[in-house]
Symmetry: C2
Subunit: 330 residues, 2 copies
């Protein structure tokens, strides 16, 4: 018997639960506890003020292929749905924890996402004037909605209605979502989880990850990726069992979408799935619950009037959440 | 003999050149020709005005795993080096074609990258005033350098010194770089290529890519990725043989860095490699040429004085470019 095999015998038994896997294979971000306490305080404060609280996740997760990361796997997501939904939830009286990918679209600022900010600024006095006054103003011909957005942004900030939390990697996302679920468990059914982030299904465990940049001189790359634990399961069962939980299902193939949504509801026993197809996601979604199926859409006419589909999704879900709270209380 | 084997016999011979591979396995962006003509006109115009022209590539490339892309492989790169270098090249009298990843850092606007723009705006009249005037101004306590940046941005725009071209995918990058090389070949040695983009070494050929989102229910993911053709080779040999070409080498392991830089120079016969290590890349680089090796760095004192290492890199390379032009002419 060698010392090696002895130490194998002494090793911890393989932890098979999702919670164990999370602790074992995904690095805990150093600020997880601090963020959890912040979220708990936020939830307590707004619950006391009679507000419901929604945790929105938004944007894609980064999955490193190397521990000193040069390369990573990512999921397509601008974060538009999460950012616009946050605005509509706030308009509906909710306080919002916005758990989003670093640099993804952000509520209110999302309107600048397609322009270069310097193209929207000018020196006060207009084009002919000397720039020596030095005062820089927004050109409202370039950004016609800026005053409205700024006013609303300042009100929301003043009312502390939006708590932004950032993630980049899958590990950060998973641990911060767990922290959020635990933080919100104290307000029971008055918490909603609106899980719109595009989360990777695959990852490379820290133990199998090379430290350094993978060398291309070694030839073609063979990657073997494990499946990410389905965190929805402990979230619904253990961490926030009384909450109103919405997951999102994005597919490119419309024919399998509703079936996959129904199967998710059967598996995780949460309240609703927002199902959407990549190409039509900004015009059409289906909100699927155990007993119902609601098609929501915006027409071209709606788009002209600046109606966004997120307004309809949020309206559908806040009504359902209200009923859910009443049922849980009764 | 079956029709299948007959059609195999009839199939085109396997194209082995890099150019052929590019045409065969990487989709040409629909605007490639239009962009090429734009770049050629830009180069002719500035060459006639006595300016040298640099093509800067910046940011990471996106490598789709599915043809209707939900997942992709990416390279870590904010685009900071390319964006700041562009400013210093313009200050040195160059005209700049800025071939950058969509949403990566951009010259002059890069100073906003860490703040939420709405936190830097206020209604004219200050905090106590009513917001009804509606004029929105920049709070220069939040953005102390905005007037300077805006002034410079407007001068550069006025002088048409910066031509921005965007890419997202590896395919777009490769084809647009080829177009740029061909467009700049007309100005010979007065063109510089400053290839700072973080380009993937691996990809999945279109023919092997699944159309739809990979299903996680199929179990762990096995990815087999091909090696990206080394585009530096035809760029130096065929597309822009008279140009001054700089490549970048980023490693996480400092011990292999200089050796890899030297090997790249031997292989591609271009003019210089800027070698850097991930962790120290903002404070230290080595500019390696066939005969020389120049260490460039910024100290903590420099950082306090807002000196950036890109200023030193650009200064080193513009001098070398000047000598190169003289040698080529002589």
């Amino acid at each position: 018997m060698t010392t090696t095999s002895e130490s194998k015998v002494m090793a911890e038994p393989r932890i098979s639960s999702i919670d164990g896997k999370l602790a074992e294979e995904f690095a805990v971000p150093s600020h997880a506890e601090e963020v959890k306490e912040k979220m708990a305080a936020f939830a307590r404060h707004h619950d006391a003020a009679g507000r419901r609280v929604v945790l929105i996740t938004s944007g894609g997760t980064k999955v490193p292929l190397e521990s000193r990361t040069v390369r990573f796997l990512d999921n397509f997501s601008s974060g538009r749905r999460g950012a616009s939904s946050a605005e509509y939830f706030i308009d509906s009286g909710y306080a919002v924890i916005f758990l989003h990918r670093h640099r993804s679209l952000y509520p209110y600022t999302r309107m600048f996402s397609t322009i270069n900010m310097l193209d929207a600024l000018k020196f006060r006095g207009g084009e002919g004037a000397s720039s020596n006054s030095g005062e820089v103003v927004v050109n409202q011909q370039v950004l016609p909605n800026i005053a409205k957005a700024l006013k609303r942004y300042q009100e929301v900030k003043e009312g502390k209605l939006l708590l932004p939390i950032e993630f980049s990697t899958l590990s950060e996302y998973l641990h911060l979502l767990k922290a959020a679920a635990q933080a919100l468990s104290t307000i029971g059914s008055k918490a909603m989880f609106y899980l719109a982030a595009a989360v990777s299904d695959f990852y490379i465990p820290a133990s199998e990850m090379p430290e350094h940049k993978i060398q291309s001189s070694n030839g073609p790359l063979q990657l073997s990726m494990n499946m990410v634990p389905k965190i929805l399961s402990p979230l619904v069962k253990d961490w926030a069992p009384q909450a109103f939980v919405i997951s999102f299902k994005l597919e490119t193939d419309a024919t399998i979408l509703l079936d996959k949504a129904r199967r998710a509801l059967d598996t995780y026993r949460h309240q609703a799935v927002v199902a959407n197809v990549l190409d039509s996601r900004r015009g059409y979604v289906v909100v699927v619950t155990r007993d119902t199926q609601a098609e929501l859409m915006v027409t071209e006419e709606d788009v002209k009037n600046e109606v966004e589909i997120e307004e309809r999704i949020v309206s559908n879900l806040t009504s359902a959440h209200k009923k859910f709270i009443t049922q849980q209380a009764g």
